[in-house]
Symmetry: C2
Subunit: 512 residues, 2 copies
């Protein structure tokens, strides 16, 4: 009894505290979310990972439409000359552009396939890293008068930014996203739109992904290339780093000037349109994993899970097999008749010819919110064994099948709230108000040399607004300002680095 | 009274019979479906056009999931070496591939942006024209045993095939599509899958797009590059040409051999997987337009329309404006509470400050199935004026608003059936059983030199199965075999060109 308790064996190895980056890769592999491909930096999103993305899409799309937006589609390719129209924009993306130079293959003198020299494009095409320029050129044709405004359009698509150090979901050369692009009559309207969409993102991430965020504005050095203002939401994941989960940009008249989006105002003047853009991407899947997964694999908030309940029939004896499967399918049918978040509950019955333990562990690693086991003995009692993914693996609750059907939504809601509360507690516990430079450096200095990635978390500290301070801190600690948070009544103070006046505390962190 | 009746003015000019290709472009422009872009061959799909595509996606996706498929996502880029693995495949696509050769831009000696010479890829990447090869390479890693089969995956994505003579929706360099890719244990299963998905396509096109098709098999010369068998559905549009609306390929073991998809069979042997692929694309939007639109613009089958009912308040006098708008919004609310095809009815109230005639014509050109006008006088009577898009522009029916709410679904169903019947009558009237070579040549020879595109339509004629005959007919008449149709009991006969034996009639036509 006096022995040290043995460390319980976990489904994922290494555990989070042993090696967070490797744990992340192993969770993705174990849950069959994505695979690396032979194309450097490009991933294959497997059905389980894509199912999560589809749910994100469905929910965000509803929210976009509820705020008056419609979807459209613009070309994958951008003429090189378009990219150059906005100076900061091209500078921001030139280093990571995939460039199409030929439109045909042929056989070279060495007998091998090659881009056909006779099919070289007179103007190279850039694979879109984002679509401000090509969409701007289109809007310029659509907009003549204030009557044509606002334009409120979103696009779901793939984009490409060449990544030198790719990381599945978080930083991939190709990724999937949505990009909203709007044009407005006035600066006020465009700024309202920018904020409205950030609020949509914050609501979505909080209510569906169960992740609390700081929302605010980026400092100038972290702005989107070409934007006047970049708003963002920033989440903390379990190694205490920050991930930017969504951004909304007020572009002023910069892209309108570059693209020629001009309209006749209500009082007959010609004016440039005021534009915004905003986006969320498959990076969110990575954020979700890092925020909620544990040492046994993925943990999915019910609102975003492709499957809410998995039923595992336990059939050791051949003669009871049919009856157990029938009970499992009856239960599934009852559950599927229940609506959850506007659609029927998604229920899987795992009838594969494998042992119950093997099957159970697969679903644990995939993060399904509720697992239900039905065995031969349960047929008489009418009981089923229910396990919540947010509770320990062995914490079965035996309940009457009928009661489970009645309570399923309540339990899923409880899991959803619990995951949010857990993530919020973790973030709050690792967010510190910092009052001095020494304290700041200490907060971000790893204490254990064998775990160099573990540091303090989020620091709320006063900053004098200067770029010099940002650069010094980035170079010393790899820490950046994640956002200047929206607060009801900002608390004035003095910069912890220079002692100069500071209008409010900002959020500092190491970031993905 | 003895005068010739004047030709009624139509919203689209030219009319179909005057210049079909130009009419097609004008319908697209008037309905705001799509725009050409500055990137050659690439289109901008505008919200109204994309709304149609979203409805196609939603319905097809349901049907794919109901047949056991799940979605996933594979890389946009394909290493050149992958394309080469299947000889027929690379030959089929090499001439229309967009090739990425660089991953960065820089400033050249002339001060202009260019692909950075120091960032040339060691192996060029092809932008996917279709994904058999890259998906095959992934499946090869996933498949070890018969237990891993079948793999039933679909992907929604963009693909690129360089087009020298682009045509919006019908033939564009970039287009959107879905591509299903499956692997099976046996040839029988794979052939069943190929046919099952063709049946899904036929059902979808018939029940949702209201278009009748011939379904059958392609002749060898029209097969997908690398396939053993290509099945297709072929629609007739209003210039009597054929459009291939969907294809399903049995790939045998060709791509498995090229990619190394090998599995251990139930009896312990190693065998190559049997694969299929199947696809439908934004080309369907073009098919829909050409099948149903008329000289006043688009005509949308209700099951695929982004908006089912548009309500146009007619408010000549300022003082009745508020009351008319209120009545319009009340009617809209009542209609939106009705479910149609599993979702709420989509209703638009056009409150823009424009004349009723202008607004009405916009919705006519956009093809909305039902238009409802409410004016001040209707407030007392409780009546509204309803016009069906499949009936003449001025054929208003005055009905009580409440009765209209009760009958809305019935009227939409009637429009849906009417459009199908009309398309089927047109096709049947222009499909001829042909018994001789002379008759065949006559059928396909335009009678009016000023309308060289108008010819007979579909010919059902016996063919001896030889490629020589196909090539001769293609070179003489630009007519090809669209499909060898599935028929219950094929009628044997003799080839109308050679007199040799023929197992059944095939469908000949000019085609897009």
């Amino acid at each position: 009894m006096a022995n040290q308790p043995a460390v319980a064996k976990t489904a994922i190895s290494p555990r989070r505290e042993e090696d967070f980056p490797e744990w992340y890769q192993q969770v993705i592999r174990a849950a069959e979310l994505a695979d690396p491909s032979d194309v450097r930096g490009c991933m294959v999103i497997r059905p389980w990972g894509y199912g999560i993305w589809e749910n994100m899409q469905r929910q965000l799309d509803l929210m976009f439409k509820a705020t008056g937006h419609r979807n459209a589609y613009f070309p994958l390719f951008i003429p090189l000359s378009y990219m150059q129209k906005e100076a900061e924009h091209v500078e921001g993306f030139a280093k990571e552009c995939a460039v199409v130079t030929h439109h045909r293959l042929d056989i070279g003198p060495d007998g091998k396939m090659r881009p056909a020299p006779s099919a070289e494009l007179s103007e190279p095409l850039v694979v879109r890293p984002t679509s401000e320029t090509i969409i701007g050129a289109t809007y310029a044709k659509w907009v003549q008068s204030y009557r044509d405004l606002p334009i409120l359009i979103n696009q779901w698509c793939n984009v490409v930014r060449w990544e030198m150090r790719p990381r599945v979901f978080l930083r991939t050369t190709e990724f999937l996203w949505q990009e909203g692009h709007t044009v407005h009559e006035s600066e006020v309207e465009a700024r309202e739109e920018t904020r409205r969409m950030l609020d949509v993102y914050e609501t979505f991430v909080r209510d569906h992904l169960a992740i609390p965020v700081f929302s605010g504005e980026k400092s100038e050095s972290e702005r989107f290339p070409g934007a006047v203002q970049t708003l963002c939401i920033e989440a903390m994941v379990q190694d205490r780093k920050a991930i930017q989960a969504g951004t909304s940009h007020f572009l002023g008249q910069n892209f309108s000037r570059a693209s020629g989006i001009e309209f006749q105002t209500r009082d007959g003047r010609q004016e440039l349109g005021w534009t915004t853009s905003w986006g969320m991407s498959t990076r969110l899947v990575g954020t979700l994993i890092m925020a909620h997964a544990d040492d046994d694999g993925l943990v999915l908030p019910p609102r975003i899970a492709p499957t809410h309940v998995v039923i595992v029939p336990i059939t050791p004896k051949g003669e009871t097999r049919a009856a157990v499967h029938a009970a499992a399918n009856n239960l599934a049918a009852a559950l599927r008749s229940i609506s959850y978040g506007g659609s029927p509950l998604e229920v899987e019955v795992d009838q594969r010819d494998l042992g119950g333990g093997v099957k159970n562990w697969e679903w644990i690693k995939k993060g399904v919110p509720l697992r239900v086991e039905i065995g031969p003995r349960d047929l008489e009692s009418g009981n089923v064994a229910v396990t919540r993914r947010d509770q320990p693996v062995k914490s079965k609750e035996f309940v009457l099948a009928n009661d489970f059907v009645c309570r399923a939504i309540e339990i899923l809601d409880s899991i959803q709230h619990n995951l949010f509360d857990r993530a919020k507690q973790f973030r709050d516990a690792n967010t510190r108000i910092i009052e001095s430079k020494e304290e700041f450096y200490d907060f971000f200095t790893p204490k254990n040399p064998s775990k160099p990635e573990i540091h303090g978390g989020f620091a709320l500290a006063h900053w004098d607004g200067s770029r010099e301070v940002e650069e010094q801190i980035k170079s010393d600690l790899k820490v950046t300002i994640r956002c200047i948070p929206f607060t009801g009544t900002p608390e004035r103070g003095t910069c912890v680095f220079t002692g100069a006046a500071s209008p409010q505390r900002v959020v500092w962190a190491k970031a993905y």
